[in-house]
Symmetry: D2
Subunit: 363 residues, 4 copies
Amino acid sequence: MSNKIPVGILGATGAVGQNYIYLLQNHPWFEVTYVAASPRSAGKTYREVVASKWLLGANIPEAVANLVIEDANIVEKAKGRCRFVFSALELDSKDEIKALENAYAAMGFPVVSNASAHRWTDNVPMLIPEINADHISVIDSQKKAHGWDTGFVAVKPNCSIQSYMIPVWALMQAGYEVKRMFVSTMQAVSGAGYPGVPSLDMIDNIVPFIGGEEEKTEKEPSKIFGKVEGGKIVPFTGLKVSAHCNRVPVINGHTACISLEFGDKKPSLEEIDRIWKSFRGLPQELDLPFAPVNPIIVRPEANRPQPRRDRDEDKGMAVSIGRLRTCELFDIRFVALSHNTVRGAAGGGILNAELLKAKGYIQ
Amino acid sequence: MSNKIPVGILGATGAVGQNYIYLLQNHPWFEVTYVAASPRSAGKTYREVVASKWLLGANIPEAVANLVIEDANIVEKAKGRCRFVFSALELDSKDEIKALENAYAAMGFPVVSNASAHRWTDNVPMLIPEINADHISVIDSQKKAHGWDTGFVAVKPNCSIQSYMIPVWALMQAGYEVKRMFVSTMQAVSGAGYPGVPSLDMIDNIVPFIGGEEEKTEKEPSKIFGKVEGGKIVPFTGLKVSAHCNRVPVINGHTACISLEFGDKKPSLEEIDRIWKSFRGLPQELDLPFAPVNPIIVRPEANRPQPRRDRDEDKGMAVSIGRLRTCELFDIRFVALSHNTVRGAAGGGILNAELLKAKGYIQ
Amino acid sequence: MSNKIPVGILGATGAVGQNYIYLLQNHPWFEVTYVAASPRSAGKTYREVVASKWLLGANIPEAVANLVIEDANIVEKAKGRCRFVFSALELDSKDEIKALENAYAAMGFPVVSNASAHRWTDNVPMLIPEINADHISVIDSQKKAHGWDTGFVAVKPNCSIQSYMIPVWALMQAGYEVKRMFVSTMQAVSGAGYPGVPSLDMIDNIVPFIGGEEEKTEKEPSKIFGKVEGGKIVPFTGLKVSAHCNRVPVINGHTACISLEFGDKKPSLEEIDRIWKSFRGLPQELDLPFAPVNPIIVRPEANRPQPRRDRDEDKGMAVSIGRLRTCELFDIRFVALSHNTVRGAAGGGILNAELLKAKGYIQ
Amino acid sequence: MSNKIPVGILGATGAVGQNYIYLLQNHPWFEVTYVAASPRSAGKTYREVVASKWLLGANIPEAVANLVIEDANIVEKAKGRCRFVFSALELDSKDEIKALENAYAAMGFPVVSNASAHRWTDNVPMLIPEINADHISVIDSQKKAHGWDTGFVAVKPNCSIQSYMIPVWALMQAGYEVKRMFVSTMQAVSGAGYPGVPSLDMIDNIVPFIGGEEEKTEKEPSKIFGKVEGGKIVPFTGLKVSAHCNRVPVINGHTACISLEFGDKKPSLEEIDRIWKSFRGLPQELDLPFAPVNPIIVRPEANRPQPRRDRDEDKGMAVSIGRLRTCELFDIRFVALSHNTVRGAAGGGILNAELLKAKGYIQ
């Protein structure tokens, strides 16, 4: 009998749900024991429902393939079957997702969510553990506000911003204000789930638009870099962002071209290189299982990072940076890459859960 | 017997050379009568050399397929065979190209060039006919300086900037200073010629680097927007550009994400829309054969322009714009697209030749 | 006022419907005056419904963009609006399609269909005009059986077989029995419509299965090569086919690898080459607008035909053949290619309608 | 100090050489200590030469990156630096490769080769260890013929046939003669090395031709299934093969559509399924490090195997089979897939070396 913490996956059959199941194989702390999805999947085995649309290599992990899927809407079903849940819910309305995540929290479950529904709830932390691990303290006021005991909701930000948030934070933490940031992304199709982007749009083509993505890209950094005050997160207003988001024919790996303008104090390129290479955060200090050894990898080659070559660095949890150079308009520019379904989705969620466990919020 | 002007193609077997031959089929004014390439192709028919690497549909145009290729280095060979030449030379050194183009000019041939060698020669015009047709006046001082009679060199700028130069010019001409421009491109593989970019780099991948491209992108607008003074072109210094150039798995069509900052006078989005839709230049006035009816097409759809859908607008000579909106950092942003081997290369060269003929420089 | 025959498109908003509208621009005989689709599109303009999913270049043809879509289920709506219809219906059940196509026929409309519903109705001709134009005579018994006056149904076969049926027929007609045929296809994604095949299945991947395709490929030749007896088509049983059908990341153009076994009389490779190059059918004799000049193009290059280079030959209506050589097991083998949405779908349908008009069945 | 056998890689900088270096990281028996390539790479570190064209993820394995490359033509250089070599030589002429491989053998090195030069030397075994491990006995007569002591040459067959040879062998070994085989392949671009296939040929396209591939595919099975007689391998003449070989836009993984005709004794589909699932060969018996647990994986899904989903099964060493069904012309047909650069190239070579070590030929 395993001593691991049993965990449930809400929205287990979708692309993000599949990624959780794939990445949690052999996890040292957590073990998937419960899978929930829409009513029409309920009652069937995971294999039956997912076999024809499994996205991650040849085989569904055996331990999950034979689990019977439950209806995610019937919160009671999860009782006694797991001790916390990852939410990869894909409902039509954010309000429904919010309500359902709250219902799981009310039932006592910590909810570690990939959904965007609760990202702007002010007592819900939006975590990148290398940056804002201290935000988890708002969970206490969240619990109090709802009268919840062990349950709560914590979320992660959008996948498209993961590649440059840690590098920007590393500079800020080293004492350099970052005032303005241009972002132009080339995002992988896996970010749109399955079936997602039609191949007729992605052969000999790119699509210079992703619904809602630019808005998230411009807004979410303010909460991530925010401060905890009175049990809530107060957004940081010192950084302005402009984003152009594009879809390109790449399976995994979001690439971003970035230009940064600093405040009065400006680091040299050598200083930036040094800061990035030596950056470590709390996940590295705590030696969390999913923490990359070096959160930021700096590539020396002229034409890197590239999605196919660099996305899997440190199991897909490190971000890769290259082409650091001065900018004709702002101060510096560079290219950043992260694995959108690992660091940017399920892997990021798992790291959040590991942090929450290390801090005693998941037991 | 045709009354068309006989024209030669230097570098006829390469990708750009092929495009000239493809686009000049049935041209009302010009007719390809002479093809020149490297010594190792000389003496063979065009079909023999090119059949296995022809890039433009099924068949080499019959009229050219049976021409015997001459050695481009032996300038005398061209005598009596054509009245002007398109240069698509791909030599290792720019100095060699310069010298060879000059030699053709010295022999009396107008040289309409795609090569970058002469782009910064101050009495050689770098033409986008909708923008700076008046620059052709420096040809007179060029001829005088060299003691050339009918021969001269005129060039076109790099393919990557074609999609947004006319739209930016349209705004400048309407009285709005453009001070700063961010550019992030997603460029087609045809821009690198054949064999060019390996498929191992372009399946499930993008490459965030194109050698020399960002430098050209940032520098060439200053000459294009420059003024003729004393028989030379004096670069315009009022616009600063920062460029991120990327290669993506698209056959044809360079896409650019653009953010612009105006001077004190700022147009509304409606005003910009109106300016772009009504813009016409000298090629339209002169009704040149390769001139697009509307140089700028403004797309109303949320997710356009896209390379495969929009690159062929008006035979590949129109640029397509979409997603005009305000920018969080500068004033406006938008997406621009042009066909890199038509408007951005051979088609642009042909339009230049048409302008030069209309103005009496080619006869 | 146009003298062209007004035509309606049933299923006008789908991929095949769009192709009809695209290809019928400037058709010398036919003009789209009526577009019908599902009830939820009815009442909107074609542009409103299709703008975001238009597949064929930048713009919906203006003449159709502003037509108001009617409900295809309400057959009466078509009355007086067109003189015949192209059916590109995509309903869930073949029985529904059959019933609806019959209803249009009963109302007096010739129905030229792309749907597979009526392919095995024995008094409905399944036409490739170069092969079996004589099959249209069964329309008379079809009309009689139903008591229809001007209306009837004629269909075309599946897109995947178009590339090799005419070449095989040319050999049969020249007196060479073809007894056995191996077929292995690499089919374009446009064959699956839009959204169709997910990009997650078509980047760095192929799918060795297309539902129902191998069955159609193996069975349809028997009807196409059949004989008219007693007002019905009696299938030809002399040719056995084995098919492997695969989906590959190509926009347009189905490629097939073919091995053929002849009867006792076997043509030489030179004889085959001669037969293919000189083959002409009734559409060529009648000089129908969509008839390719040479139905079969034989490529001399070692590595052709290729979809992107060869699919558009003669406006997409010619098939291209290459690599003719002896087979280690059967007699000969070769590679065949045709444009699946032109010759294989809408273009083939238009050619059928042209034949039917030339023969007096459409007026 | 490592107790592993030091091994050299000839042609270490090419695509196959890179694969050896990648796959031999952490190999339990072998350790790369020597890298040799063309004269122009000699004297530089492996990193210097390969950094810009490294194909296998983000980083060159550290242990090899700093090795100084030697000139592969100077055989003496290898002395004392390694105990055997993998040959991934890519010279222009097969005779040169033969001569060079022989020179290494003469110097005492076992040469385990991927090159095709020696495939038809009758005392050189062409090994797929699950099939013809007994062929290694010809090495003794090879050594004797040349007067070599410890040195010899052993080769592996072409990558394109790997996916179906073991399945066919499993049936033959179970007592079912296979008389005729149709093969139609869809092969990955990595099979052509780097730069290899231009992206202009592989975006929205396939190429139905690979030089020399069909000939190898048709001929090599006869030697692999051959018998050792008098110190030589006598080809098997009982199986005739016809192959159509195609290049498709896939990074790794060759897919083959296969139809088989048996002799008089014909297995049922159930029997075949049972034979394939239970098949084990000598590598499995000997538990060689690179031996897949199940050499043949039978997929139950309707649309598998697919390259991206199935190529990495059992570290890329298992072949995946699907769609087993009866054939309209022969007896059965199916789809087979194997990883062309692992099982089909470097991984296959390593398995050969492991077998040779287990049998005492490498020490």
